[in-house]
Symmetry: C2
Subunit: 221 residues, 2 copies
């Protein structure tokens, strides 16, 4: 990515309090989006009150994709309405010498905007494939293509990653000088997401081993 | 907990599409809140648009506690305004024989309501201690008490867990009968949050081992 493809800060994405934690280059934003499995989608419901929905996401170039059942009332609300999609990775707990300075090392992204409902069957099919591949790389080569009925039973939304930023804390605990002599352990407790042994479905009608998409599964990082 | 302490479904918490995934007993809701380290807080900003903020949380009986800097514009907005707090745990990826039926086993909670700003110093101090202990059980016994200055530099909010529900999917992949003969592996890929070896801060002035709160750290489950 070139510098001139960076995101422009806006009132909503500029960090007021700790600006050095803000990042507007697309490589940084995209890497967080791609590593995370889920996002939280915020909408304003018909009564003017907030609703936050967890869901899977995928990225198609400079667009974020989300999907759900075509019968989902909340996703139908998100279509053509303002949303805030927040993606959060927690990398470690930060234990300081004082309770006050406890924190976390984290990487988060917010994307603001109005998602477009993908109504074209071919485009929706391609978007669904991106969503499956974002979650389980290689899986689309192992299953049959989507049917038109399946494509139409799914509501797929495309949100341009235009008004967006990343926020990152990455470092040791930071205490005030007057607490530095305290006899209290300080440091980091690393946090990882790990994947266990695959559990084959009991109702399988063929004796098949876990496929490449499952063996050695991991997130991009 | 007794049955008559269960949460009453409302328009916002009753599940319309897959009602069997909805849970309104406090034990189920509380267990998800307690296991999760972070929540996503949805608010409506001064322009009427949604904002979703990741943050730590704690539980004090039937109240959810969240906190942040007293200078946080967004948390100041949350005070005395409608919020939606969503907490999500992903337990496994669900790989079906078809892309369409891919899913996840998950446990999530939503809590709706208007948080109260805790302004009393003693009450705010107790709430902060609950928040630290929710994240790192035993830590408050290892650090000095909060000062009044620290307590006043923190905005602590209390949200009664009244309008709330849990949503749980837990089971094998479910495909349509016409796909059951497909020669495609189906099953679950378990997901866990794991904690690595503690990393002692380089600027420690005493040679101390990681304390009990860090050694053998794990989430309640």
């Amino acid at each position: 990515m070139t510098d001139n493809n960076d995101l422009a800060p806006t009132d909503r994405t500029a960090l007021k309090r700790i600006p050095e934690r803000g990042h507007f280059d697309r490589d940084t934003v995209n890497a967080i989006i791609d590593e995370a499995m889920i996002c939280h989608v915020g909408i304003v419901d018909e009564t003017g009150r907030p609703v936050v929905i967890p869901t899977f996401h995928g990225r198609d170039g400079d667009d974020l994709l989300i999907h759900g059942s075509a019968a989902s009332r909340l996703l139908r609300t998100a279509r053509n309405s303002e949303v805030c999609v927040t993606i959060t990775l927690i990398d470690s707990l930060v234990l300081a010498r004082t309770a006050f300075h406890h924190s976390a090392n984290y990487r988060s992204v917010v994307v603001f905007g109005v998602p477009e409902h993908i109504t074209d069957d071919a485009e929706a099919d391609a978007a669904l494939n991106v969503l499956v591949e974002a979650l389980i790389p290689g899986r689309m080569a192992e299953v049959r293509p989507n049917t038109n009925k399946e494509i139409r039973a799914t509501l797929t939304l495309r949100l341009p990653i235009n008004e967006a930023s990343a926020k990152i804390r990455n470092g040791p605990p930071v205490d005030d000088e007057e607490d530095m002599d305290a006899e209290v352990w300080a440091g980091l407790l690393p946090i990882s997401t790990t994947f266990g042994d695959p559990v084959t479905a009991a109702d399988m009608r063929h004796d098949l081993p876990p496929p490449p998409s499952v063996v050695g599964y991991g997130r991009p990082s």
